[in-house]
């Protein structure tokens, strides 16, 4: 791949009138001036994170409940989702293109496939860690299997489930930066954008926004976890 020498890159840079930007420095002034151009990539990135995590969560929850009823399915499901998980995202973006074309769909399908193993394993672990006595007590009180699942087991597994959701979310924020190779936009597209390629201030802002997004989403899920597990707070 031909990467132009930086000296040539500095021509035609938007906002290149700024002397600092022209010398490819780290320029707070340029950043403040150009902050609005990151708005759309950031929104795309949020979309590329939340949609795959939501779809992945729904699929994993279904699979985990299925595997909870039919234990023998756990192995095969972990095996298949493990293969999805190991295939590099850049590779997956290309493998999907003959089927889904270039764009959001390809990016989202690939990103969903990464979240499955993480969330599935955490849900099954959470369900398995519910003490047998608790289950027995619930059954003894006359709850049906379905009631035990929704009123006892799933609520008790919430910390593990949300821990999985946190891992899946921050991983997806990172992988979504590569969605640019699937034509999916996002902050990665900003990092690799034409004339501004590897312009220091641009890399710092776009990369920094991705890290910030991961941190904010992580804190939000943590807050959700505290709100959903009041018994933990009482103990602490």
């Amino acid at each position: 791949m031909n990467v132009l020498p930086l000296a040539q890159l500095q021509i035609n840079k938007p906002g290149g009138s700024d002397a600092c930007a022209a010398s490819n420095g780290f320029c707070p002034g340029w950043i403040v001036e150009n902050l609005d151009r990151y708005w759309t990539p950031l929104l795309e990135h949020i979309y590329l994170t939340l949609v795959p995590v939501a779809i992945g969560f729904a699929i994993s929850m279904g699979l985990a409940i299925l595997a909870h009823r039919r234990r023998w399915l756990t192995g095969p499901i972990t095996g298949v989702t493990g293969v999805f998980f190991a295939i590099p995202s850049v590779s997956a973006f290309f493998l999907l293109q003959p089927i889904t074309g270039l764009g959001y769909t390809t990016a989202i399908v690939a990103l969903v496939s990464y979240t499955l193993l993480i969330i599935f394993r955490n849900i099954t672990d959470g369900l398995r860690n519910v003490p047998a006595e608790t289950r027995d007590a619930a059954l003894g009180q006359g709850l049906t299997e379905r009631q035990v699942l929704f009123k006892v087991e799933l609520p008790m597994a919430v910390p593990e489930i949300l821990a999985g959701l946190r891992i899946a979310t921050s991983t997806t924020v990172g992988l979504a930066a590569l969605a640019v190779f699937a034509g999916g936009g996002g902050l990665g597209a900003e990092i690799l954008r034409g004339n501004d390629k590897f312009f220091k201030s641009n890399v710092i802002v776009a990369g920094g926004l991705a890290v910030l997004l991961a941190a904010v989403l992580d804190l939000l899920i943590l807050a959700l976890q505290r709100w959903m597990t009041p018994w933990r707070r009482a103990r602490a």
């Binding site: 493990g82 998980f85 295939i87 850049v90 290309f94 293109q97 891992i167 902050l187 990369g207």
Partner: protein, 253 residues
Amino acid sequence: MTGTLAFLGDFGDAIDFILHERDSVSGGVRIGGIGELAGLAQTHMIVSVAALAIAAALAIPLALWLGHLGRGDFLATATSNVGRAVPSLALLAFFISFIGLGYTNVIAVLVLLAIPPLITNTYVGVRQVDRDTVDAARGQGMTGIEIVRKVELPLALPAIFGGLRTSAVNVVATATIAPIANVQTLGEPIITPQTYGLVGGLGAAIIVALITLLVDFAFARTQRAVTPAGLKLAHPARRRLFTLPTRRRLESR
């Protein structure tokens, strides 16, 4: 497009690209074929192996020692959280713009990506060793170094290999974007569609996917092989046909 593979559509064409040389999309250059791809794969593997080796040499001894001392809970969780949150593309772009292009920078980025899972897994692996076992070793007169080498390290090996597996897969996957730093790995056909087209990218993507699956599988087998017999006996129910990433290992990604 060869007739025999035509029924596979783009995938058949991609396999043809892997096997036979052809003209580039824009013309003028010959691309594809075993020769070119083997060269790209070689660079890919050299960069990956170097990065993993350096990261292991740095992270494992450090985490072993911190785990032995029982100091570093914060480090272990912080590195894994930060490591997961920083996108590999952003890190590579950061290195390119501030330091420059080339092998050294690509390897440096891959090392940084490989370190967090190694630290977290090694540290957790050592901390999970039964305290009674360590006390027994100390009671037999073993020194600190002997305890690390003869007790804690062997018992933590499965966890350490879990970390190596996660890091290896991450490194091989991330080496795919190395061409943006002028290092010609298997990502080259993926990142320059103007020369290689969809089919070239697809061919390279197939090879990269196969390599990572192979690496993943190889480390999974090694992980099982290095698990001390005593640990296998202790958890017979946990043994599976395929060892898959555990939650703790996933947390480090």
